[in-house]
Symmetry: none
Subunit: 546 residues, 2 copies
């Protein structure tokens, strides 16, 4: 029999402390729903009242099927009752089933940061948690600086936990707030706390300031703790929090953990980890870490010539877990065979039939490699990959030509209107020898605000495509991402766009250029070509001289 | 008395196995010289004979002052003598003072990968190392898959180490080749090996497949090992090797390590770690990891309002080591989490004096929150924050007005040249009543490729600012980041730019608009205003009617 281990995600609270990270309420809902599907037990959504976004998020919380939505706050201040502390009141008023309150457990901090007596701090902890229980909430206590506090004065640090338990805390969570604790030493402290309260009430909350947050969390589980707090991709202030995406597979797959504990994540959840990890990167518009344990694109990539032949004989020789168990796949860049198998599968998905020995396969493989070095990202742009593959297989279809385009952005100071920005695009296309010129401004239909040059270009291009117009009328641009890739002195811009159509299809395309407008145009033309191909639009007529 | 711990860097060998990494011989020399200055003991330069780059590197090796240049290879094959194995011969012929040979220690691999008898493998190990000693080289033995091998057959794994020591190995290095070992379990194995040979001959070589390579290496040191193998920034195949940049500060600064061992790295070496880490990223053309332990730009960044007030009172409360000891610095960014204490500190840094009770403080705080809701990111744009603060405190300075600007991007199909993109900008500024019009194209000086509309705008604006021209001539745009924020239905674009000047100052500014060109212009105008303010440029003259 294994113990149930509780997973507490704080991506939306502690993760949000990261420099440069600012989730919108909508981002938070999307992340919370993914975490719920994954199977974590608690989702800490933020600090109600601390900022407008968190307040907005709790005002319209996500619908969770399994996880418990949790609000974060701090223990009441001295000199007022828990019921009369307005900071605590805002946290409570968010109405979440669980609330996690942080409080001091280090004598130095009680004296210097709070400037109150040791006993007042104990009373603040006890009464704050009791208030939550009186309101019928599940109460958790984050013991700030616990390991440093325990080193400074073990009796007082333990007395703080006693106060939380007396107040009715379901969990006391030992926080290594400054990230300086060492795993083995911390595990010895966890053991003592578990001996006092039982591991089923003890959690661990680690930070990665020495690169050991994952190891410290796992060591705490081995020492008896039964709750792990962490974030997706290790997001968090300074060097980040303990990375749940690394911890979960180790807990489920590796000895001794798989023999000690089980979690609310099932095998499907485990397989969904790469997707969830990428979802967060996408929300943050970050490049995924190729080398992330278990989920990174290179986590099972075998480059070494020395290893590659053994890998071909028996893949398990250089893999500590099978990649498919964590939803990942083996990559052997040196071996053309593995690359080819991968490619054949993708072609089949695109409806292009090819044999393993087809020479065009090697040509396409080389083309993909070259283009990816330039910045194209075909993993995220399946439709552009398809267009490239059709070209390599001589199945490229030409529908129309863009003879020229021009985009203008202008800002003027108008004495009455103030600064005004206007974007305008002109596109000339040639369909079956007929030249069509379209122009468009870029004004939001509701706000009348200018939406920028790319938007103007999209509108102008989609305005008149002659006989193809019916095919593209239901195309809606649903996502537009820009990244500047600094490939040395020459920066290039990568544009990824996503379209949706009336039939519910979604497809992504990519463009790369030093010029953002040009990159956008490439992605846009790929998107239109993909739609026309899929819908079987008639090809253009050959023109004289072709 | 502490033991001497040996640091063995394999960035140039195991690090080179990373997908997408291909050092030139010149890159290798540059990295080796940096490692030598840092104070590592061994620099493994590559595998002579395995590829042209490694052969070229060893043919013209770097001049090292302290570190021992080491060649990598594998133990001889069965059926020939060590002197007659041509693969081993190439390694030996590189002429390095030390050689590290990898060999099998796992019975399964001996049987299935090599297909030889257990005894033949032992003889291969013994004789290969003896050959190195006979040639007067220092010999190291990398025990491949040691922890898995020990679990499968402890006696045989240990017999392999015996063979290496009998052959004359100075070090036997226990490799967790597939990265699957857990720190605590591995440490128990290290203890047994150290009990047999003494820790002074035992090394550890860990991989990060569960995110615990640093912790495992440190646990091995606690268990008695006295050599740590790793790479700069954790570079390496799959999830990477143990990160020496994280391990070295922990060994030197943290208990129990600082009380057990010392290394060849001195306090200057420790302070140079951020620079060495960035040097590697530069060679690899990678964006530095802001969240890297000790050396990352955000490793000592404190965003949380809750923490920020304590930080102002006493920085050590939220820092496990002083940032300056590892050559880093404290950052207290602005953000929607910010409290007043944080704000006051930032204002002081910007040279704006304010009291805690100043009403303008609350006004500024509200302004920052509102603007961050719109997408501004002041924690990443200190200079824009400063401009905003000056406005709130009535210290805003007006230098010039941009009356209008226009940016055009045009693509034409030229029958001879193919598709050509041209960006052009026109800016009209008003300085002291004098209108100045400037135009600029956007061609890269070297490649002649178009660099896009924002680049054209920057050039045009900086071309003629009248009496301010001298102040801005040394401004160089060093970074440009774009993010589309989908805050609901209305997408806005956030542009973050960074400038540097001749005096070495660096400052970042931000702009937000649905229109990327407009957002860029905002950031650019903030950047110029910041520079003019800092350099004490004269204000503009009041115009008639103002």
């Amino acid at each position: 029999m294994t113990d149930r281990l509780s997973l507490f995600d704080t991506t939306l609270r502690d993760g949000q402390q990261t420099q440069g990270v600012g989730f919108s309420a909508e981002d938070k809902r999307r992340i919370a729903e993914s975490l719920d599907r994954l199977g974590v037990d608690y989702i800490e959504g933020g600090w109600p009242g601390a900022n407008p976004t968190d307040s907005a998020f709790f005002a319209a919380p996500p619908k969770l099927k399994r996880a418990t939505l949790t609000a974060f706050g701090m223990t009441k201040r001295a000199g007022r009752s828990a019921a009369n502390d307005e900071v605590l009141a805002e946290v409570v008023n968010a109405g979440t089933p669980a609330v996690c309150l942080v409080g001091k457990t280090h004598v130095y901090h009680v004296k210097h940061a709070l400037g109150i007596s040791r006993d007042d701090n104990l009373a603040n902890i006890r009464e704050s948690l009791a208030r939550l229980r009186a309101l019928g909430r599940e109460a958790l206590f984050d013991a700030e600086h616990f390991f440093d506090g325990f080193a400074a004065d073990p009796d007082y640090a333990m007395a703080c936990l006693d106060a939380a338990i007396e107040g009715g805390a379901a969990w006391v969570v030992l926080c290594d707030t400054n990230g300086g604790a060492m795993p083995a030493a911390a595990a010895r402290v966890v053991e003592r706390v578990c001996a006092r309260f039982g591991g089923g009430r003890v959690g661990i909350h680690a930070h990665d300031d020495t690169g050991q947050a994952v190891a410290l969390s796992l060591a705490a589980v081995e020492a008896g703790a039964r709750q792990v707090q962490g974030t997706l991709n290790g997001l968090g202030e300074r060097c980040g929090n303990a990375n749940l995406v690394s911890i979960i597979p180790t807990l489920m797959l590796k000895a001794p953990y798989r023999d000690i504990v089980h979690t609310g994540v099932n095998v499907e959840g485990l397989r969904s980890l790469p997707e969830i990890s990428r979802m967060l990167d996408e929300v943050l518009n970050r490049q995924p870490n190729r080398h992330a344990p278990y989920v990174g694109a290179a986590a099972f990539a075998h480059k070494a010539g020395l290893h590659a032949s053994a890998i071909v004989k028996d893949p398990t020789t250089y893999e500590h877990v099978p990649p498919e168990v964590v939803g990942n796949e083996r990559v052997i860049p040196m071996s053309n065979q593995a690359g080819k198998a991968n490619l054949l599968r993708r072609l089949r998905e695109a409806g292009i039939e090819a044999e393993r020995e087809d020479r065009r396969l090697a040509k396409l493989l080389a083309l993909v490699k070259t283009r990816e070095e330039q910045g194209f990202a075909y993993d995220s742009a399946q439709a552009s990959f398809e267009m490239l593959a059709r070209e390599a297989f001589g199945q490229s279809r030409r529908y129309f030509d863009v003879e020229r385009f021009r985009v203008t952005v202008e800002r003027r100071h108008d004495p009455r209107m103030g600064a005004q920005v206007v974007s305008e695009a002109v596109v000339v296309v040639n369909v079956d020898g007929e030249r069509m010129i379209s122009a468009s401004e870029s004004l939001d239909p509701v706000t009348k605000a200018d939406q920028g040059p790319v938007n103007a270009l999209v509108r102008a291009l989609k305005r008149d495509l002659g006989k193809y117009q019916d095919y593209i009328d239901d195309m809606v641009l649903t996502d537009f991402k820009v990244r500047i890739l600094t490939g040395g002195a020459e920066a290039v811009t990568r544009v990824l766009i996503e379209h949706r159509d009336g039939a519910g299809a979604r497809w992504s395309t990519v463009g790369v250029s030093p010029n953002i407008v040009d990159a956008s145009m490439q992605a846009l033309l790929d998107a239109i070509a993909w739609k026309l191909t899929r819908d079987g639009a008639p090809l253009r007529q050959l023109q004289p001289g072709e």
